[in-house]
Every structure is written in structure tokens, then in C-alpha cells.
């Protein structure tokens, strides 16, 4: 069993200034990395015996329109059963976001990435089966983006201000 402090030290010792940001909030730690370092940091977290994050709890896409340069982010929540610790790693993405897939590290990311792709338009390179998951095949738009309206119907009564958005 290794404490969260030791895990922080190990990760910071390995990557140093490539970890762009660290946030400690409510006993949870969040690291921000560049999209280019995404694969390297995550595979280090999984494979290093002092980290041993053997489970990806979830991979969440997010939209922050107020952050104009990088309006998208992907957040990975890792769990280590060996050490009983949790870690959150996120990366900020610009418009037309793409990120390498982590399905080769944790196969459970398959549905997560498909969901992030259909809901936010974040493409995952190398994903074996990047299709729509929860919405219909002919659905247009990215529902979880903040500019997507909450109300409105397709086919029946369409509010004119929503034209082109749904």
C-alpha cells in the first residue's frame, strides 16, 4: 500500500514540468497534461509498479466554451486496487479535438470513448469501433456541448431559433 503523497511524488519525479497543473480539492488530486503526453502518462500510471492503476473508472469528455483556446477536455479517473488509491488526469483540447485511444490500455474505455465522441465530438484515434452509442445513427449535433439546446424536437414542432442546431 502506497500513500497518495508517494504516488504524487513518483508521478512528479517522472514527468516534472510536463505535468502542467495540479489541483488538490477534497482529498482528491488532479493533474493536467498536454494531449501529446496523454498516452505516455496514462501508460506509466498503469504499468509502473509503484502506481499500478489497473482500472479506468471512467473517461469523461467535457466542454468549457468559456476557455476559448482549448474548449474541450477529457478527464480520466484511475483506480489502483493494489494501493487503494484514486487519481484524476485530464487534458485540454482545442477545436476539432482528437486524442489517441486508451482502449489498448484498458478495454473498458471503449464505450466511454464512443460516448465522448458522439456527445461532444472528441475523436479518438485508433479506436476499434468508433460509432454512435446512445443516440440513433442519423442523429446530428453533439448533445453535451453547451451550445446544444436542451429543448426542441426533430420532425414535429421545430422552434425556428433552433434551426441548424438540431
Amino acid at each position: 500500500m502506497i500513500s497518495l503523497e508517494a504516488i504524487k511524488e513518483r508521478l512528479e519525479g517522472q514527468f516534472g514540468s510536463r505535468l502542467l497543473d495540479r489541483a488538490d480539492f477534497r482529498d482528491e488530486v488532479t493533474y493536467a497534461v498536454a494531449p501529446g503526453d496523454w498516452m505516455e502518462v496514462l501508460s506509466f500510471c498503469r504499468d509502473d509498479p509503484q502506481m499500478a492503476f489497473d482500472q479506468l473508472d471512467c473517461l469523461v469528455g467535457d466542454h468549457l466554451p468559456e476557455r476559448a483556446a482549448a474548449p474541450f477536455q477529457v478527464v480520466a479517473h484511475l483506480v489502483s486496487h493494489t494501493h487503494g488509491q484514486r487519481l484524476r488526469i485530464k487534458t485540454a483540447l482545442a477545436e476539432d479535438p482528437t486524442l489517441p485511444t486508451v482502449t489498448n490500455l484498458w478495454p473498458s474505455a471503449g464505450f466511454d470513448e464512443r460516448e465522448a465522441w458522439e456527445m461532444l465530438g472528441i475523436a479518438f484515434e485508433g479506436h476499434p469501433d468508433l460509432r454512435r452509442l446512445l443516440t440513433t445513427e442519423d442523429f446530428e449535433g453533439y448533445p453535451l456541448r453547451k451550445d446544444f439546446p436542451l429543448r426542441g424536437t426533430i420532425g414535429g414542432r421545430i422552434r425556428t431559433e433552433l434551426k441548424g442546431k438540431i
Binding site: E28, D57, P107, P143
Partner: protein
Amino acid sequence: MSEPATSGPATSGYISSTGEPEPHGYSVEVPPLEHRPTLDELKERKARTRQNVETTGEILTVSMGPQHPSTHGVYRAVLDLDGEVVVDIRPEIGNLHRGVEKLSEERTYHQIIPITDRLDYLSSFAMNHGYCEAVEKLMGVEVPARARYIRTITSELCRLSNHIMWLGVHIMDLGTQTFFCICFRDREYILDLLEMLTGARLTHSFCRIGGVAKDLPDGFAHKCRKVVEFLPKRVAEYERIVKQNRIYYRRAKNVGIFTSEDCFAWRVTGPPLRAAGVVRDLRKDEPYAAYDEVNFDVAVEYNADVYDRFLVRMKEIRESCKIIEQCLDNLPDGPFLAKDSVHTMQLKKNVMRDAGAMIHDFYQVFHGPDAPKGEVYRATEVPKGEFGVYIRSDGGTKPARIHFTTPSFYHGQVLPAMARGEMLADVVAIFASIDVVLGDCDR
């Protein structure tokens, strides 16, 4: 129905220990009691019980669901079959997608509670509870002791109702109708308790930020005690009917083996993970509510197959009864809702009598509770596995992004890995054994 006498002491019930060859080409093993297979043994057993799908002939594609009764809802699995051997499965979900996360972004933290009911509608309170734990972590709300105990009791009642319902449906999938009715009759006692406590049988919406909606009603403790004393006897009867039934044993034993390594990689949590010999239970590992103040054992089995998932759930029912009894014994006095007017609702009985309470009630209903800026993730152990809630808050009364990491979402994804190389009829048993509810899966 009796077995021909074999050498050695007679095995109890109907389990055959003759080792006669099965149609699969392997024989049913009766492992000695307390034999715990190692990971390598399990891997070897997994390889042995699965058919080789590389040498395939003509492939037949069959669509199972979304209206198939054994898919427990609107799950659709497209099966590629070679004869009766499953070569590949493509799961199709989303028929019950309601956009829960998008809806939640437009609501205040109080208004999201009824939405979480509709995730896993067979254990609604556990979902309310998991969500409220996450919000309390974000806002730093201290929950009074009595509320923590009431939450524990209600969560465990949901676990009982969920597992009993699961058992009935699982056994019905494998061929018997009567047992389904037996389980539904027993589930009714628990639903009566939940109705007495929360006023609803299915979607409770009973949890509140900082506590619960109501105190325990008069006579609840007495009635609850009677049920939890009665249920372990019923579990013994379920086990007498199912555990040593030859048909169930052969359809469940060594079917759908999924080792602990596979479980971690595919994020399989809850009873299927514990059936693979992993002592992992968030009630112990990351305790919440009153779980660190009661004594209970984590239910673990070691063979990682459908049969052991059944055994784990039966053990969990017994442990839940123990937890409820201890909570009723040690139930502390005091308030059942935190006195924190910035984050919690006021008691309705005070609103019309007390000016301060009325102002705070007005504030909570029309404005909502204020959250600090930051992001939290809180996972709790719901009956189906680990339920995580990720909240990113920019401050204000609504979450900027909320994500529900539901166990069934990953359990729906894992079916191909779990059933590839098994027979077609085993898909039904395997799918039932991981306990997918589609409201939970599609969100």
C-alpha cells in the same frame, strides 16, 4: 431424481460427482470445499471451457433483443454464431437513453435527485445516496448520525430487493417460472417497508443533500426487524432449491469465467468482481454513511463463474440483514437532516411557522444550494457494482458537468469478452449473472 450410488460418501442434493462427460467436451468438476483456485488455474480453466473460435465455418448472425425477455429491458446483442458457439457479440445500447447528464446540467443540485432515481430503478435509493454523497463531498456538508444510519438501512433494503429480484429473473431465464413468483413474493415485504419509509415503491427520491427526507415512521423498526429475521431463512430455502439443482449447476458452473485481471481491465465491479476472489467492497474500502460503524463481512467467492456470482449475492443478502439489524440496534437520536441552511432544504413542518425557515426554503427552492468551484468524484457500492458521480462545478447552484459512472454501462459492454467461445444458451445465463439494468446502462 436420485443419483445412482457412487463410491465415497453421497453428495448432498443432486450434484453429480461422477465426472461424466458433458456435451461441451469437458466434465463438471465438483471442487473440494475451501479450494481456492489461483489466477493461473482460473485462466487455464477459462481457456479450457471456451471453444476455439478461430477455426470457424459459416457464420450465422442473429439479433438477440431489444425485445428478448432475457435481455432484461431493451439491450440488443448481435450474435455471430458458428453452429451453437458464439464467435462474437456486438452490444447495441441506447434504446433507453434519456440524456440524464444534459438534463442535470440545467437543474439545481436538489432537482437532480429525482433524476438519479431513474438510473437504476430497481435500487433507486442507492442511486440517490451515491449522488448525495458526491454533492456533500463537493459542498462539505456534514451529515448527522441518525441520517447516516437511516441511509444505511435504506440502501441495504434496496440491496435486498435488488438481489432477490435478480435471483428470480436469473432463474427464470434458466428455465423455471415458479421460482420467479417466490422471489417476487419475498421482494414484496421489502417494498412494503420501503413504501412505509419513503412513500414510494420504486422511485423513492428519499435522500436529501445533508440527510434524508423523513424520519423513520412509527412501527418501522419492529416491522423491519421481522423482515430481516425472516429473510435469511428464505435465503436458505433459495439455496436449497437452486444451489444443488442439477440443471442450474450444469448451466452455471464453469460458465462465463472472468478472472480478476479481466474484471479490472473491463471495469467489472460489484458481485462479479467479488466472485473472482477480489476482496473489494467500497463499503469497507472507502466507507461512507454508517458502514464503518457496523460489522459485516465482504462476500467473496473464488471460481469467477455464473454459479459463484449467485453464491456471492446470497451471501450479500445475509450480510445486508446483519447490517440492518445492527443499524436498528444502534440507531442514534438527533436530527435526520443537517442544520445547514445554505445547502439543505428546510423541514416542511417549519416552513409555514418560522419566518427564518420560510426564507431559507424560498432560497433553496428558487435559487438552490451554492457549491464551491472544483471537481469531485465519489464512488459508492450500489447493488450492481460501483456507482461513481463526477461533478465539475464552476460555483453557483448548477453543476457545470455531471457524469454518472454507472456499473451496468460497463457490464453491458463486457458481454462479448465474457461470452465469446461459449454456447448460445450460455449467453442468457452470463448476461443475467452480471445483472444489467438498462436504465442504469443507457442513462
